[in-house]
Subunit: 467 residues, 2 copies
């Protein structure tokens, strides 16, 4: 089915949960959300007494399908603001490396091998399916330097129905490995443009797909390339994504490579890469002054806590960023990160903030509610999609997941294999909806996400989904 094809109007009935502010979840036990034939939310009803009442009130939904959630709730689809699809086969392989040694040992060889389209097809299809199965409805992907494989990733997202930003990675610097590097700045720009044009042709109304200009990071590109890419993004009205200040040695390297700049942020600012459509991943080791510049430019932050922990990169100052009004979302950063799940990333963001709190006081702690905000509304704002996705509001798109939690069955308890097909959450029956959400965040996994929709189209479902 084409992404733009009409769907059957549907009423999503039952509990729903979404962020209404950074620190506040709406917990609605008896909801009914009407989604029209274009995937747009037409109404959001609360404290619903019966489906008949809803149909009565909304004439256009008299014949609508009904999808009801039991023992769970609807939740907005997750937004992954930073991940590397070609690195997925390396997930879990990092050993004791840190960023720069990890890139050389694991990452560049793997990315380089994606010049093979059959391999790219297997890896990308697997990874996009994985992210969908974890409830990720929007994903900002780094591909590789290869145009055909990058375009294939776009094809796969389009075909599997995921909202995506897709970037051909640009690496012109002689510090990039000889076997995995753009031949020249002009070829790099031509390749990035070719990929942008391909994506625009594939999805001319940008129903799902957006190209994103992707200088890998400052050490991978010359100053000239960085500026040229900023111009390319501007002239093609594209998003921009790159990495910033992930690791102390990397920051030191950038200082050596760009002695004329006063900071890592200054390198990108000089190039014109800091725009309201720019996603900066990590930002672990930036100063308050750098945060100020980024905020002034309207650029956004992708916080990737799992990766920052796994690679011992450091702890991002998310509390300060939020207090200062910066826009922050979460990124899985596979395979620096070890999971394609934004739910896992919520937990990791909370752990990072707790480690910061051990040294610096409770104020920096990120709450469950805040983590879920970053995973949805925050991520949407990072991508510039905050008017369309991330919450349940009239006029927004139905990018959502159905979460089901298992109530402990006293009859089956202790049966051998009784947990098969169930997620990690045990509900005992007395939990409030808010407590169920807490249990989901800390113990849930992809088994609890039984169905996923993007723009009203079902893009993932498990055998447990009764649609």
């Amino acid at each position: 089915m084409a992404a733009s094809a009409r769907i059957k109007p549907t009423i999503y009935l039952g509990a729903f949960v979404h962020s209404v502010a950074l620190k506040e979840l709406e917990l609605q036990e008896k909801g009914a959300i009407g989604v029209d034939d274009n995937g747009v939310i037409a109404f959001v009803e609360r404290d619903v007494q019966s489906i008949e009442d809803v149909r009565e009130k909304h004439a256009a939904f008299k014949e609508a399908d009904v999808v009801e959630v039991k023992d769970g709730f609807f939740f907005p689809g997750f937004i992954d603001t930073h991940t590397h699809a070609p690195q997925h086969p390396n997930t879990g392989l990092f050993g004791q490396t840190t960023l720069l040694s990890w890139l050389q040992t694991y990452t560049f060889p793997m990315e380089s091998s994606l010049s093979s389209l059959p391999l790219a097809r297997t890896v990308y299809t697997n990874f996009v399916s994985r992210t969908l199965s974890h409830g990720t409805t929007t994903c900002a992907y780094y591909a590789t330097i290869h145009v055909p494989a990058t375009n294939l990733l776009a094809d796969i997202c389009h075909s599997l129905g995921q909202r995506a930003l897709i970037g051909r990675v640009c690496m012109t610097s002689s510090l990039s490995p000889p076997t995995y590097r753009d031949a020249s700045e002009s070829s790099a720009l031509a390749d990035s443009l070719a990929s942008i044009q391909y994506i625009r042709t594939l999805d001319p109304s940008a129903i799902l797909l957006h190209p994103i200009v992707t200088p890998r990071f400052a050490p991978s590109c010359t100053a000239s390339t960085l500026s040229s890419l900023a111009s390319l993004a501007s002239s093609t009205h594209s998003h921009i994504q790159t990495h910033i200040s992930e690791n102390v040695s990397e920051v030191e390297l950038v200082r050596e490579l760009f002695p004329e700049c006063t900071s890592y942020t200054h390198v990108y600012d000089t190039a014109g890469l800091l725009t309201p459509r720019t996603i900066l991943a990590h930002a672990v080791h930036i100063s308050p002054a750098e945060r100020h510049i980024i905020r002034e430019r309207g650029a956004k932050i992708s916080h990737c806590p799992a990766s920052n922990t796994a690679l011992t990169s450091g702890c991002c100052a998310v509390r300060e960023m939020l207090d200062e009004g910066m826009t922050v979302g979460l990124g899985t950063d596979v395979s620096g990160g070890f999971s394609p799940s934004i739910l896992e990333e919520c937990r990791q963001a909370i752990w990072v903030s707790r480690f910061r709190a051990m040294g610096g006081g409770d104020r920096v702690k990120i709450s469950t509610e805040e983590a879920l905000y970053l995973a949805t509304r925050g991520g949407a704002a990072v991508c510039g999609f905050e008017e369309q996705v991330g919450g349940f509001e009239v006029g927004m798109l139905w990018d959502a997941q159905m979460v089901v939690l298992d109530v402990v069955d006293e009859e089956r308890v202790g049966e051998r294999g009784g947990f098969e097909g169930k997620g990690g959450v045990d509900v005992f029956g007395w939990e409030t909806l808010g407590e169920r959400v807490q249990k989901w965040v800390y113990s849930g996994d992809d088994r609890n996400t039984v169905a996923v929709w993007v723009r009203g189209r079902c893009v993932h479902r498990t055998g447990r989904f009764k649609g």
Copy 2:
């Protein structure tokens, strides 16, 4: 089947992995491990060419069953050295609390409710089944203050076939809540003794079950009770478990409650609770001098990183403990910890060590190999079972799990729901056995543990197990 009943001799064929030293895993691609009718490992063969060769060499196994692992490996069962079965329904509920407020808000009310035997049956059956499904073959449990419910936990472990240490929790101090407290020291001692006697009667040869004397922690018991419990443990030859120095406010409280003692460790040492059969959970905020005393007494440490992170307790100095020759294992500490999985605890131990490394250098990092050692051999030594379980050696017991990792199926990739029943690990085919282990540790879950044995008896299996 009674735990002592004879089983059919079995050859476990295929890859196996286990710790042979703190920093070293043995990775054997072509193994064959023979387990006799008493669940004891009779032989461990390596580089096996055919099952016929094995049968030829070991006459007693000519007719033995064969259980073969494909796309995976056998691994020793996990040892959970510290968890609270009655707190399982609260898993994931802790919000922004820290230890002392968390105990009052969540823990004591939940534990108190386990005076109900029907509730205890549901909770304990569910939790023991959960831990088995995650590959935990030995578990050190805290129950509640209630003798009948504690004895029920023993019954359930016995019936489900898990090796367990089971402790009635002792709380005599007036700081314990009036609704959840032992009536007096003498009743507490009588109740603890009754529970010890029940467990000894249930399993007179200690095939699976061991009683463990369990003063909750210093603030819950008077000095007199602590001493009396040490005597009880001594006279009944029981293990001892308690908590130590988990949280800064708790340490402060202990200082106020026991002004005659120079440290938290000194409180327990004065009472005679530090013995070679003592398991001390947490030990986050202990000084090098306290570590020295604990080591001198031969007491053991249960490191509970998930709990310490979730409750913002702090980071345990595991590297220093290991360097000093202390015995350390892992504990899930449900529900301060948010998962019944020791595999998750391996990851959390690694994250905690990485956060320490961010401030203190790479030397303190715990490697994947070390985490797996703590989860098996380390935990076994914490419980005093290091001669019986934790590795694959002739004369040890077959406490083991079969781990299966899914090879990405190019034909099925991208199929809707194609991940159902699979774990989080994607194997692409080129990975070495060592890399598969790494992927399992960082992305695996209970779906990858397809069968579990304790003393040769299969105590858990999923539909994917082809036995």
